[in-house]
């Protein structure tokens, strides 16, 4: 098995954030994990990458149990998480941000190759490489965060709401890039509230509600599922959101 979660449970003191979820990612797939605010999406990713400890259940990666390993071990194995909310190192330069992504990589040649790859994906990063990360625009920061993830040379990439708070035009570009990254052989577990876009590029999807997986299927199946449509594909259109000014650039 490439990647599998079995009966994962997470408690924060009295809060039962994940109530036993199971999911799989096959090699080379994009798997979307859809859910509203507080559904437990970030908790899932954080327990995989070891940022949250004390979970129960089993996490298997390349036929090996990795449950409860510290984050640096997980990163070394090639599972790289890009945390939600465009977290970057604001005072480090763009280049230094990217270098931090390769923190555990001692292979200098490979690091430079990865850097070149990132600069190819995001030409703007190359232009701004001597500039502090904090001075980038919101969209650029998200790209920097993804670029930093790529610098870890991921085998499996965990993306936490990469489209959060971005203008529709940028969202589209970000998803294009995620698709490109996947094309080069990286498996992706994509956490999103933007179900429409995520499911469109996903091979398979899982819908998470208050700590439980309620529906699963291929991306197309979920897009056509009436329950999913009602819950995640209706509501405010992107155009309306843009007019309300909910977006950062």
């Amino acid at each position: 098995m490439y990647f599998e979660i079995k009966d994962l449970q997470v408690y924060y003191r009295a809060i039962h954030a994940l109530k036993g979820i199971s999911l799989t990612v096959n090699k080379g797939e994009i798997v979307a994990l859809i859910g509203g605010n507080g559904a437990g999406k970030s908790s899932t990713l954080n327990s995989i990458s070891g940022l949250v400890q004390g979970q129960s259940g089993i996490i298997i990666y390349k036929d090996e149990e990795i449950t409860g390993l510290p984050t640096d071990m997980i990163v070394k194995k090639g599972i790289i998480q890009v945390p939600e909310g465009r977290h970057i190192f604001p005072k480090l330069t763009v280049q230094e941000n990217l270098e931090m992504g390769a923190f555990l990589n001692d292979n200098k040649a490979q690091m430079e190759e990865d850097m070149e790859h990132v600069y190819q994906l995001f030409p703007r990063m190359k232009e701004r490489r001597t500039q502090p990360g904090g001075t980038l625009s919101g969209g650029e920061q998200q790209m920097l965060a993804i670029g930093r993830g790529l610098m870890g040379h991921p085998d499996l990439m965990l993306l936490d709401e990469p489209s959060m708070g971005l203008a529709p035009i940028l969202v589209e570009q970000i998803f294009d890039i995620i698709f490109d990254i996947n094309q080069t052989g990286t498996s992706i577990l994509l956490v999103e509230q933007n179900a429409q876009m995520a499911l469109a590029i996903a091979d398979r999807g899982f819908v998470l509600e208050t700590g439980e997986i309620v529906v699963s299927g291929t991306g197309q199946e979920l897009l056509n599922d009436p329950k999913v449509q009602a819950a995640y594909l209706g509501g405010e259109s992107e155009q309306e959101k843009l007019q309300k000014g909910d977006y950062y650039f």
């Binding site: 330069t93 001597t130 001075t135 650029e140 570009q173």
Partner: protein
């Protein structure tokens, strides 16, 4: 012409009043004294101020007034050099006459042997004599006119020169551009020899310094460097790894007491070798840091600040208590702490052994340079980078594979060890250590050293040490004004440079506003 006359005499009056006022409150002579102390052997006692320095202070005050006047005039309309000359002469004459009147009055009273102190409490006869340039009234008046005139003229000439070179602002901008062009860093990169030579020159300058300055300056330099060492250590913890430490003095005290107990004849009588004791002090302080770091390594937030604050108080109370007096000397502290033996090289080179304080300053410089080197290496190492990343965003640093908990503790341990070395040096330098030296104020000062200079910046830390420990020493002669002036300076600095005086350089900080179109263009595969 008439307006020039009235305007410039107004400025002359202002300058004169400033002169009189600063003499009345005794500011001129204390300033002159400080200047004198800086440049001469520091033998100055209250009643002997070299007239030159009195004149210098007077001249400076008039200089600034004249410069301000000329600048103001310039914004009004175009001004010829002659106009300026006339104005400068008038200013110097008016201010000179005013200050001379005061001196004639005071001086003639003094010459008649009348004690003016009865009327002007602030002025002692000594001070008046200083104002008289150590001469009689007639000469004093001449001196004053000379210094006001020279001050005024210097202002005029400088102003005129700056006009000739096309507006000062432009000059400054030009200089900035030149600086950008030259870019020391790039030269260093291209010609490594230049870098080596400059470093050598700086080191030589530092090494000759103890030989040419006086005993007072040596003692100030010593304390400044010890605080610089502490600042370097604290900067690792606070500036780089981003953890707040309120009780840094604890580690300083650990180092000082370990060193004291190991080298003093009482209470244990070990009298260990200096270097070994220094090393052990460093290690003990580091272990102290480790023990403090362990419980907080998995916590987030400023727990360390509180924990170290408590730890510092515990340490202070313990060394002060009579309970521990058999081991720590209690309130009396430890006396006769060991000093290092001067190696015979010095004697061979200089013919005679160096004086104790000079030799010890060399020792402090040596340790300081070692730690400076280590700090530089650390900051630009992988470890330093991960500290910075941790400070910026702990979650992401962890997600990048940084084991934040161990890096946190590592920063505390290294910072604490450096404080321990500083403490050992401090104890050895004073040959005494006692609980009163490890008050909370030391922690505050150490923190101020880091913050004032610029968090995370090594040169900033050195500058901070000078400002926090050196400046108050230089201002010591201002006595009553000292803390007021110091406080005011700190406030001004923090307003002008909130990031610290010498913040870490991160190149361009501006970002051009951009449109969606630009981004879209960029993102096209």
């Amino acid at each position: 012409m008439k307006t020039i006359l009235t305007k410039s005499s107004k400025f002359g009056v202002v300058a004169g009043i400033i002169l009189i006022f600063s003499e009345m409150i005794n500011l001129s002579s204390t300033l002159a004294e400080i200047l004198e102390k800086l440049f001469t052997g520091g033998i100055a006692t209250k009643d002997v101020i070299i007239p030159f320095y009195m004149g210098l202070v007077t001249g400076l005050i008039v200089f600034f007034t004249t410069f301000a006047f000329l600048k103001k005039q310039k914004s009004d309309r175009k001004n010829s050099f002659l106009h300026g000359l006339a104005a400068a002469i008038i200013i110097s004459l008016v201010s000179g006459s005013l200050i001379s009147v005061l001196n004639i009055i005071l001086g003639s009273y003094l010459e008649k042997g009348k004690d003016v102190r009865v009327y002007l409490e602030a002025l002692s006869p000594d001070v008046i004599r200083a104002f008289l340039f150590q001469t009689d009234v007639r000469h004093a008046v001449m001196n004053y006119f000379l210094s006001t005139f020279l001050g005024s003229m210097t202002a005029l000439i400088l102003f005129w020169l700056s006009q000739k070179t096309n507006q000062p602002a432009k000059t400054i901008r030009g200089l900035a551009r030149l600086k950008e062009k030259i870019q020391v860093g790039r030269i260093f990169e291209r010609y490594p020899a230049v870098k080596t030579i400059s470093i050598l020159l700086v080191i030589i300058a530092i090494l000759t310094l103890p030989l040419i300055v006086n005993a007072y300056t040596i003692s100030v330099l010593g304390i400044v460097l010890i605080y610089a060492i502490m600042g370097l250590g604290l900067n690792l913890i606070v500036g780089l790894s981003g953890q707040l430490v309120f009780g840094y003095v604890a580690f300083f005290a650990l180092g000082a007491y370990t060193f004291g107990l190991l080298t003093a004849p009482k209470p244990f009588g070990i009298e260990m070798n200096f270097w070994l004791a220094l090393l052990i002090s460093l290690v003990v302080a580091g272990i102290g840091g480790f023990l403090i770091g362990l419980p907080i390594m998995n916590l987030r937030g400023d727990y360390l600040a509180i924990v170290t604050l408590g730890f510092a108080e515990i340490v202070r109370i313990l060394i002060n208590s009579n309970l521990m007096a058999d081991y720590t000397g209690g309130p009396q502290g430890i006396k006769n702490i060991g000093q290092p033996i001067q190696p015979s090289i010095f004697e061979r080179y200089f013919g005679k052994p160096l004086e104790d304080n000079v030799w010890f300053l060399y020792l402090i410089i040596f340790v300081f340079l070692l730690i400076l080197y280590a700090a530089f290496r650390l900051q630009y190492s992988r470890t330093g980078r991960s500290w910075e990343a941790m400070r910026e965003d702990e979650t992401v640093a962890q997600a990048c594979g940084v084991t934040t908990s161990s890096y946190k503790v590592l920063a505390i341990v290294i910072g604490a060890a450096i404080a321990g070395a500083a403490g050992a040096l401090y104890a050895s330098r004073n040959t005494y250590t006692g609980p009163s030296e490890y008050a909370f104020m030391v922690s505050v000062n150490a923190l101020a050293v880091v913050v004032v200079g610029g968090m995370g910046s090594i040169p900033g830390t050195l500058l901070g040490a000078f400002i926090i420990k050196g400046l108050p020493e230089l201002l010591r002669d201002l006595e009553n004004y000292r803390m007021v002036v110091f406080g005011a300076l700190l406030i001004v600095m923090m307003i002008i440079r909130p990031e610290g005086i010498w913040p870490v350089k991160r190149r361009k900080l501006s970002v051009a506003p951009e449109s969606i179109e630009v981004l879209k263009e960029d993102l096209k595969p």
